[in-house]
């Protein structure tokens, strides 16, 4: 589990996150969705420790700050655009990351499942974009993380790799991992996500199971529900409601859907 309380982040005078409250539950896949420039990347970067929040806390179930280096031992991360040192081979990249976690036995079956074992002796610069994406996926799952953060994970993966990837997510979830992902592919949300955290204008007006979102918005489909959320005027989300929320499920504010 991971808990975000009143997370605020401003870049200079520009507020990006304006008090995010969210609990990510172990054994569930939570998708952060929202319009462009809603603050999704900033929120993910805050959780990863790449960006320091201006205010608020981000803690693990045992109360430890998630951004401490030791906390990141149980973290798997797949960035939107994978990038590795051009002149290292895939094996060398994996060897470096393995060495940073000497007491973890890496999951070596992933190389076969993603079918990249034979590509790993080549320098990264010669690998295709799809193969780099597979390598990135392997790295995310390799150390059996209990917290997985996946940023637009299936972009660039071929259908077979995407299928393997989705089964890896399901397996990790079933093993009790807390999984956070972003995607703009609604079909993926329906298949992979248990919960939706809707981020808009730096706050989360709704977080909860997909079924609950459909009920609250009275929408027939997830597509329609997300459009309803995106079209709701941000002024109809009072900050007081958001500040009061420090619970796993943030209810859609009454009157938000029209």
């Amino acid at each position: 589990m991971i808990q975000l309380k009143e997370v605020v982040k401003s870049f200079g005078a520009l507020p990006v996150l304006r008090g995010v409250n969210l609990v990510l539950t172990a054994g569930r896949v939570t998708a952060i969705v929202g319009p462009n420039a809603a603050g999704k990347s900033t929120l993910i970067r805050c959780i990863l420790g790449l960006v320091r929040p201006t205010g608020g806390t981000i803690t693990l179930a045992d109360g430890r700050d998630v951004r401490l280096p030791a906390s990141r031992a149980s973290l798997g991360y797949m960035p939107q655009q994978p990038s590795f040192p051009d002149n290292l081979t895939g094996h060398e990249v994996l060897a470096m990351l393995d060495a940073l976690r000497p007491d973890v036995v890496p999951d070596s079956t992933l190389l076969e499942r993603f079918q990249i074992a034979e590509q790993l002796h080549k320098p990264v610069r010669t690998l295709s974009g799809g193969t780099r994406q597979k390598l990135s996926a392997v790295i995310a799952f390799r150390y059996r993380p209990s917290l997985l953060i996946l940023d637009e994970p299936t972009a660039g993966l071929d259908p077979l790799a995407a299928s393997v990837f989705k089964s890896a997510i399901v397996a990790a979830r079933d093993a009790g991992a807390t999984i956070l992902l972003t995607t703009h592919v609604v079909a993926e949300l329906s298949v992979l996500a248990d919960d939706i955290a809707f981020l808009m204008d730096g706050v989360i007006p709704f977080a909860g199971p997909i079924g609950e979102l459909l009920r609250e918005t009275e929408a027939a489909s997830l597509d329609e529900a997300l459009v309803t959320l995106m079209q709701a005027p941000s002024a109809s989300i009072p900050a007081a409601t958001l500040q009061a929320v420090a619970v796993p499920r943030v209810r859609l504010q009454r009157g938000l859907h029209q």
Binding site: L50, R52, R72, P82, F84, P85, M96, A99, L100, P102
Partner: protein
């Protein structure tokens, strides 16, 4: 939990892991190989044409003073900008930021310093031009060149950490190189000429301390006793401090130039939002 992430020794181990792999990547970069080969070819040609060690060292010094800042600052910054996404992936690993910074810094600086040392030394070995006069001066040239690599890779880190936009950062790096390697001495000379009726010696000495390239040049030319090539500030420096203490003071100032940008860039790396 990663056992080695605790305690200073564990942190150094983490830095070592990063540095080894980064060095491997940097040593395979075409521009690093071209830089080392270029130095070897230039040194070899100079030895064949000039025929004697000390005069070649003076010629090499001029090449080194232009080339090292160019390679370490501009190509170093370009390389760091290119690796920024992988740096973010590393920041998501169980490694403290300072350990990562040390690893990345060593991973860029050590290969460049190695290429520089080999590029300067190998021609003398190939041409069997090492004698009792040449060896100490060549050794000093190598040491000072390595220090310049350290200074300018620190500055490359400072630029890339402070300026997020790659084009703007590289523009600053190029202007910085032009400033310290080309324009600075001209500016100092112009000021000296404009204020020639004033007692400006102390100001000129201070001006020299503010430019690591001037410091490197002064250290080596005092060592070579090539007063005619020292330039205005270098000649003043020798007159003010003499040979031995002058070299010591310039070397100390160069050490400060290594330490301060390193500390500033390490601090900026610790605090930066990625």
């Amino acid at each position: 939990m990663t056992a080695i992430a605790t305690g200073p020794v564990g942190r150094l181990e983490l830095s070592w892991i990063i540095a080894v792999h980064q060095s491997r990547d940097v040593l395979r970069k075409r521009w690093v190989i071209a830089y080392a080969v270029g130095l070897i070819v230039a040194g070899d040609l100079m030895l064949r044409l000039a025929g004697s060690g000390p005069s070649v060292l003076v010629s090499l010094l001029n090449v080194v003073l232009l080339l090292i800042p160019l390679i370490a600052l501009i190509l170093g910054a370009a390389s760091l900008y290119g690796a920024s996404e992988f740096t973010e992936l590393l920041l998501a690993q169980p490694i403290p930021r300072r350990s990562l910074f040390i690893g990345l810094y060593c991973g860029l600086t050590v290969p460049l310093a190695t290429a520089t040392a080999l590029g300067l030394t190998l021609p003398f070995l190939f041409e069997r031009a090492l004698d009792a006069t040449t060896v100490p001066t060549l050794a000093m040239l190598v040491v000072v060149s390595v220090m310049l690599v350290c200074v300018f890779t620190s500055l490359a880190f400072l630029v890339t950490i402070s300026i997020r936009d790659r084009a703007r950062g590289l523009g600053v790096a190029i202007m910085g190189w032009l400033g310290v390697a080309v324009l600075y001495d001209g500016l100092v000379l112009a000021l000296a000429s404009a204020f020639r009726d004033w007692p400006i010696e102390r100001g000129m000495l201070a001006a020299m301390l503010l430019n690591p390239i001037d410091l490197a040049r002064t250290i080596l030319l005092i060592r070579l006793d090539a007063a005619a090539l020292m330039g205005y500030t270098g000649a003043l420096f020798r007159a003010a401090f003499g040979t031995t203490s002058g070299v010591a003071l310039a070397a100390l100032a160069l050490c400060v130039w290594v330490a301060v940008p390193w500390w500033l860039s390490a601090r900026a790396f610790d605090r930066r939002d990625f």
